[in-house]
């Protein structure tokens, strides 16, 4: 049983860290994608969305090569004395951030695009600088998008499997998250244990998504849907 709690705790830690990093990273990216007419914005939007269509194994494979001892990023982390990222919790976080990026960027991008330009123009005529306009008008008006982005990133990270297996392996306490633990139990025919964790995940996912719909439905009748 102790092993279960270890996997659950690790999963929550991974999802929490990933969500926090994603919100920091995705907010400026989504704002730029929603507002910019730069020619690069379309290609960047396509790249951000790639994890939606690529098999997680493809993503995991290239991340492994990139972060591994012979990859460019791996060489860099080694030079900095950080060792290599694959098969560590840090490596899992990096992989999860990339894998869940579209789930954070897209709701935020939609929410930012729905902020009327007129509101930002009014704020400008009321002496708000661009940064001030972003903080005082765009962020509060995009609040339902933040809730959706956070919940989806968190839930999607909890549910990831392929990338974790490729880049994290199966080290208890370090990289053995829930989905991998369930896979292990099934492989070894420990169905009772697999049930215990799987049913828990089903309940968790339903509860999270239901509360998201309920809150967004109340905040705003036409809120951004996940």
């Amino acid at each position: 049983m102790n092993e279960h709690w270890q996997a659950i705790w690790l999963t929550l830690k991974l999802a929490g860290t990933t969500t926090a990093l994603l919100l920091l990273l995705a907010t400026p990216l989504a704002w730029w994608l929603a507002r910019s007419r730069h020619w690069l914005s379309q290609p960047v939007a396509a790249i951000v969305s790639m994890p939606l269509v690529l098999p997680p194994t493809v993503l995991g494979f290239y991340l492994l090569l990139l972060l591994g001892p012979d990859g460019p990023v791996g060489a860099l982390t080694q030079t900095l004395g950080l060792g290599t990222l694959p098969f560590t919790f840090g490596g899992l976080v990096v992989a999860s951030v990339i894998y869940s990026l579209p789930f954070a960027v897209q709701p935020l991008q939609n929410a930012f695009a729905a902020v009327p330009s007129r509101m930002l123009e009014v704020a400008a005529t009321l002496r708000a600088s661009p940064r001030d306009r972003f903080l005082s008008i765009a962020l509060p008006l995009a609040r339902p998008g933040f809730l959706t982005a956070a919940v989806l990133s968190f839930a999607h990270t909890v549910g990831e499997f392929g990338v974790v297996l490729m880049i994290g392996g199966n080290i208890p306490g370090e990289t053995k998250v829930l989905s991998v633990a369930i896979y292990d139990h099934v492989e070894t025919l420990e169905y009772a244990n697999a049930h215990w964790l799987s049913a828990g995940l089903v309940g968790f996912s339903f509860a999270v998504l239901l509360s998201l719909y309920l809150i967004n439905g109340r905040v705003n009748g036409s809120a951004v849907r996940p």
Binding site: E121, V122, L126, A128, S129, P140
Partner: protein, 358 residues
């Protein structure tokens, strides 16, 4: 440097090229008038810096734009009232009002919240959210919010056009009060002749991105060479002073530089108060001799100064001069011919109706 608003701006749009070269008075309301799509809103947005333009802009001695520098929107001490009130939906009325106020330096705060709230009658609305207000209330909040930045120039883009008749009637007196009590120059864009007649001191006529004419209202409105005089509601504005009330008939005698006009007694105007009268060209008729034995009470001598017939509509516009004040009369071509009217002729004008617009 003399006090004036100098605008010399060019901007390229899809449908037209905006070319505006204007010198507007340093105070009072300048109305920019023209048909939809003539570039009046574009001009206003260029003055605010919301849209890029080339050229120069100087507001009462402060340079906002030149070849060397262009101030960003939030660096220009202006306020802008948009067609839709555009209140911030996540803030209460009170926080909307204070949004600009808290962003200007305390030493520049010439208009205080209490003042603006009282001027626009917002006391009972402060704790509401924008979606709990009527259209007219929202626009009043937007106007107060704009004023609370103590602007050096107030820009208003058809602020009444999105409102129903009742809300318009509700807000116009507030605008007229601002006109009377504030020294802030206002540039007001509209395509409503009624708003023009009520509010304007100075008039800019635009068409297809160009300025057709500009000048004091009393000079531009009677000009027969401008499209304004061909409008169904062509009119002139006369400023007059109430001299006496006739309580028996509920009439008041108002005096202007060329004589007296009897008007229906307006509420709360003691003798000595100034009123603004609008006289529609279609309410003015011409007689060759003085006929006091008729229903029209306002009879004044005048000289015909200009005639312009329109074969297409069969209607003619006659410009008359009463000492200093010009008047317009809209007659049929037939009437002009029957009476043998010609420039320089002395006639009597009969004014059937006079509207008090302020």
């Amino acid at each position: 440097m003399t006090q004036a608003i100098r605008i010399s701006l060019n901007a390229q749009r899809d449908q037209f090229t905006l070319e505006a070269d204007l010198t507007l008075p340093a105070r009072g309301i300048t109305v920019i008038f023209g048909p939809s799509g003539c570039g009046k809103t574009t001009l206003l947005r260029c003055v605010a810096g919301l849209q890029p333009a080339t050229g120069e802009l100087d507001v009462n001695g402060d340079c906002w734009q030149s070849d060397h520098q262009v101030l960003a929107v939030h660096e220009r001490p202006l306020a802008y009232v948009f067609q839709e009130a555009s209140l911030f939906p996540h803030l209460s009325v009170q926080k909307n009002l204070l949004y600009g106020f808290v962003r200007i330096a305390p030493e520049h705060r010439q208009i205080q919240p209490d003042q603006a709230i009282q001027w626009l009658g917002l006391e009972h609305l402060l704790n509401r959210k924008p979606d709990q207000l009527s259209g007219g209330e929202r626009q009043r909040v937007a106007i107060a919010r704009a004023l609370l930045t103590s602007p050096r120039l107030l820009l208003m883009d058809e602020p009444l056009s999105a409102l129903d008749q009742a809300s318009k009637r509700d807000i116009l007196p507030y605008l007229q009060r601002l006109h009377d009590e504030l020294a802030i120059p206002v540039i007001y864009v509209t395509h409503s002749l009624d708003e023009l007649a009520r509010l304007a001191d100075y008039l800019v006529l635009m068409d297809a991105g160009r300025v057709l004419a500009q000048g004091p209202l009393q000079e531009v409105m009677p000009r027969l060479d401008l499209p304004l005089s061909r409008d169904e509601d062509a009119s002139v504005i006369v400023t007059a002073v109430i001299r006496e009330h006739d309580t028996r008939w509920h009439l008041s005698r108002s005096e202007f530089d060329s004589g007296s006009l009897w008007v229906r007694t307006p509420p709360a105007t003691p003798p000595g108060s100034t009123i603004r009268l609008r006289i529609l060209a279609r309410d003015v008729s011409i007689a060759l001799a003085h006929h006091p034995d008729q229903s029209i009470q306002n009879l004044l001598p005048a000289t015909i100064s200009e005639l312009s017939g329109n074969d297409h509509s069969g209607m003619a516009m006659v410009r008359l001069q009463l000492n200093e004040t010009p008047l317009l009369a809209r007659l049929t071509n037939r009437a002009v011919d029957l009476l043998g009217l010609e420039v320089g002729q002395s006639v009597w004008v009969q004014i059937k109706a006079v509207a008090i617009v302020e």
